[in-house]
Amino acid sequence: MDSLIPFTTSGALMDCVDRKMLVILRDGRKLHGVLRSYDQFANLVLEDTVERIYHGNAFAESWYGLYLIRGENVVLIGEIDLDQEDDVPLKQVDYNVLEPYHKEDVEDKKHREEAKSQVLFEEKGFSKEGGEGDGY
């Protein structure tokens, strides 16, 4: 990117407009869509959004359409290489087939994270997540 553009939210995302992007949210959701707009908070407008879920070597998509995501909830935004996106060694299956497995994975992960944060809080002196000002 041009070094004249400072490294700010607005600078870094400028090249991503009208590109197909992967957006990961704080709740773990992975959204694919075309970035149409953003602002200084990284509020995003995604067009033709699909949510992708994964389990083992399978993935599934569910179509959502136009999304306006509040910037706070965004963990990462990455560009999808259109030349390579079809080369992933995963097979697509029906969303309804994969959803129960995915839900199980999410539930498992939640339990693991809870156990981890319990240890971190009680033995390692860390604070708890979800404190003041944390909507999650």
Binding site: D27, R36, N43, V45, E47, Y67, L68, R70, G135
Partner: protein
């Protein structure tokens, strides 16, 4: 088209709002502000487990609790068209404005008399 302008343009359109805690609200947007605070009417509220539903006539949602909004797919096109139409209208309007500007110039010169007191104010400022 900034995200919040899009939200503004979505007034009276149906939308789905998901909060950070997973609750969802389905309804028509009544109004919104720059904090993303919104009011919806004819709302169906769903809890995070998606097993309980509530119907509300109207509700207010604080912007900071929102995770995302799902808005009608055609809204981007509608807004783009509206912007184009506004631009066309402006172009027509601007021609008239240019005409006015020509006529307006003497008025600007006339303002010179008003510049007198302004200059004296500046002088006072420097002195202090």
């Amino acid at each position: 088209m900034l995200p919040l302008s899009l939200l503004n343009a979505a007034q009276n359109k149906p939308m789905l709002v998901e909060l950070k805690n997973g609750e969802t609200f389905n309804g028509h947007l009544v109004n919104c502000d720059n904090f993303m605070n919104i009011t919806l009417r004819e709302v169906y509220q769903t809890n995070a487990e998606a097993d309980r539903f509530f119907k509300l006539k109207e509700c207010y949602i604080r912007g900071s609790t929102i995770k995302y909004l799902r808005i009608p797919d055609n809204l981007l096109d509608v807004v783009k068209e509206e912007q184009n139409r506004a631009r066309e209208a402006n172009r027509g309007g601007r021609g008239v404005v240019t005409g006015n500007r020509g006529r307006g110039l003497p008025a600007r010169g006339a303002r010179g008399t008003r510049g007198g007191p302004a200059r004296s104010v500046r002088g006072r400022g420097r002195g202090a």
